[in-house]
Chain length 429, copies 2
């Protein structure tokens, strides 16, 4: 058994978790997994982290080149994140003939093809299980166990921050602001929560999953994303009364006219397996033509869970190194399916309007929907009015996204309408 040397760049939350797993289980990697691996070089911008982790000073560097250029390093773990330095690091490591393990969803969702091409050119591995769903095995099952299937649907609760917030709003009536403050206090949300609450984090993850599941490259820019900022606890209550649960869902469907992919708050039936995934948990639901429905559930965030996925990947790459079969499964995007315009979407909608407490508002707004051939399933006008503002809640029959958007543009321009408070898609999975 040869010794495989691993270098790690980025010693933040996940990086610290990786160091911790190596220190606890290095011997188990030999006996249980059949690989002899050592973390032999460390890089981070901050020298404080070297001390905090008790790493040997002569193996620690503030310049990542020291890791990538060390000829003894076989595998480079990139945990810087983002598409700046991380992009340089990954390409440089691959070009130096090293295999790469990364948790970088932004990089894989924007430059995934470039990364895989550089790996293929060198005949090395690139693995990124931790980029989606924290510790949940989902990329490996899609690239391996489920390959006999034509996958038709991938739907996930892939952002723990927003799922925690929505759970608190639904179960305990917290406002969006209170739920966010609590998530920040508990360390589940960043000081700047934009990437989470606006759905961008989820969009990167579904781009990665769709590319693998449908064997066709989808990049972040192609994923329309709406977040949860405008949701009120009352929306979650209305949904519940109708037998639904609201989740920030990342969805991708293979259709006869291309890939339907999007991220938005979604009403899903309360009995669906995804509906009971609460708190910071993540789950990815996959439908294949043979396997039927499957779901992969677990901790989507947290240092240890993500580190589990990173080290699992490192072990797998080490096995390939040990057995001389790097590059076993590279890019699987063999097709070029078009990505559908969300304007072509046909689904049901939940719409909350904040309106003036005036006569005729219901009739006027309903007429606008009728003019655009958006057929209404129900309209509710709860009694609550605060400061002269009333609420109208519409649920439509199946309608086209473009017709709904045109209706809402016209409705928003009415004097008697203050704002479109919330827009949810209803998916009867």
């Amino acid at each position: 058994m040869r010794t495989i040397n691993v270098g790690i760049i980025g010693l933040g939350t996940v990086g610290s978790g990786v160091v911790e797993i190596f220190s606890r289980h290095a011997e188990h990697f030999r006996t249980r997994a059949g690989v002899d691996m050592r973390l032999t070089r460390f890089a981070d911008r901050s020298t404080e982290r070297f001390d905090a982790l008790g790493l040997p000073a002569d193996r620690c560097h503030t310049d990542w080149h020291a890791v990538v250029e060390d000829p003894e390093i076989d595998i480079v773990i990139e945990l810087i994140g983002g598409t700046g330095v991380a992009h340089e690091v990954v390409i440089a490591a691959l070009d130096a003939g090293k295999s790469v393990v990364t948790a970088n969803k932004a990089l894989m969702a924007t430059a995934g093809q470039e990364v895989l091409d550089h790996a293929a050119a060198q005949g090395v591995d690139v693995a990124f299980e931790a980029s989606v769903g924290g510790g949940i095995p989902i990329i490996a099952p899609l690239k391996h166990s489920l390959t006999a299937n034509e996958i038709t649907d991938v739907m996930g609760i892939v952002n723990g921050t927003t799922n925690y917030m929505l759970t608190r709003m639904a179960e305990d009536g917290l406002s969006y602001a209170a739920a966010l403050a609590e998530a920040q206090a508990k360390g589940f949300a960043e000081a700047d929560p934009t990437a989470d609450v606006d759905g961008l984090d989820a969009a990167a993850k579904i781009a990665i999953l769709a590319s693998i599941a449908f064997n066709s490259r989808v990049v972040l820019d192609q994923v329309p994303a709406e977040g949860i900022r405008s949701l009120a606890p009352s929306d979650l209550e209305f949904a519940r009364d109708m037998g639904y649960v609201v989740k920030l869902l990342a969805l991708a469907h293979r259709t006869s006219t291309g890939i339907d992919i999007r991220v938005h708050p979604t009403m899903i039936p309360a009995a669906h397996p995804l509906a009971s995934v609460n708190g910071v948990y993540n789950a990815i639901y996959v439908v294949g033509d043979s396997v039927g429905e499957t779901m992969f559930f677990g901790e989507g965030a947290g240092s240890a869970a993500a580190a589990s996925a990173v080290v699992g990947d490192v072990i797998e790459v080490a096995r390939h190194l040990e057995n001389g079969c790097l590059g076993l499964v590279g890019c699987t995007c063999a097709e070029e399916l078009p990505v559908r315009d969300i304007a072509d979407l046909i689904t049901r909608y939940y719409i909350r309007l904040q309106v003036a407490d005036a006569p005729g508002v219901l009739a006027t707004t309903s007429q606008v929907f009728a003019d655009h051939e958006v057929s209404l399933a129900s309209v509710m006008q709860p009694e609550v009015t605060e400061g002269g503002e009333a609420v109208l809640v519409y649920v439509t029959h199946r309608a086209s996204e473009s017709a709904v958007r045109a209706s809402l543009a016209e409705i928003e321009a009415l004097d008697i309408v203050h704002s479109v408070g919330a827009l949810l898609r209803v998916e009867d999975l």
Copy 2:
């Protein structure tokens, strides 16, 4: 890309599903998975199946040797099942230098070590994802994605027949007999349902999962199994009133004194992810020291789902053949942990006694528990009495299995006690 020739032995439900997937997706295996595979030889006892599947007559055989001895065959799929002929087939195929894919839980749970040893001796692959959980990827995640973890718990609903029956009994009040008859009518249960309803099928599956998860061989004989024959709808109702759901759970825990493994009807909290797995669905819940809680959900039975796992394995073996790295991951049982005696179990118990409708029964039976130091949390005496028979439902505090069994032996011998109607373990997961 070289052509990989696959032979299949056993063309029943799953075998037919495999043939079907090959006919639908052979071209996709090339383009999406990067392997060129063909089903080139078929064996079954019944020639009718050859015709039904429209297979070429010169490639069909009633003697399995024709497949195993064909020098052009690279991979043999064994779908006969059981430990008789299937055992011969698998060993012969491996000894002939062919890789083997099987769905055979009985074989892997009894002779798994022998099978893996023969594969290792020849440097070939043996894969058996379909032996547990139908189409759900669970063996591959345990052998690959989760290898960075020390797995502490594996718990599964791994028998679709009994889960269907329990769901119908809990939700619609069906009796055991009615639920079984319905499951048989729908094709979810065999004419002889013993293996399912007595927990033997689940026992084989948890033996396989525990061996992989804990890196230590556990065989079928070491798994105490109790089934669901004695359960009544009233047991499921009592459980629900207490906030629990009854599932036939296959459990394995790594403890400081060895592997705790067993199959029995179990009361689990209604909020646990396993509690909402209903109908013929299966789910396996895994806890690792880094990944935390994860769960793998899907169709545990059915031709297409199991065939998905079989063909997924075949593709993986084909990739290894194509890249010259057969034998990448073989036996992972590096340790020899003892298996604990179930008599040493300490948990809570739900006990239903069928008793005479006579004064003092509650006092007398309670005293027996007290004599054995089994502390009682509650006792309920529902009003219903039919034919002079009454019911007593006990729930204990944590007690030892041996003390509970000794109590029940003594209680059963009492004239005023007709029978121990049901015994459930309560697991506060």
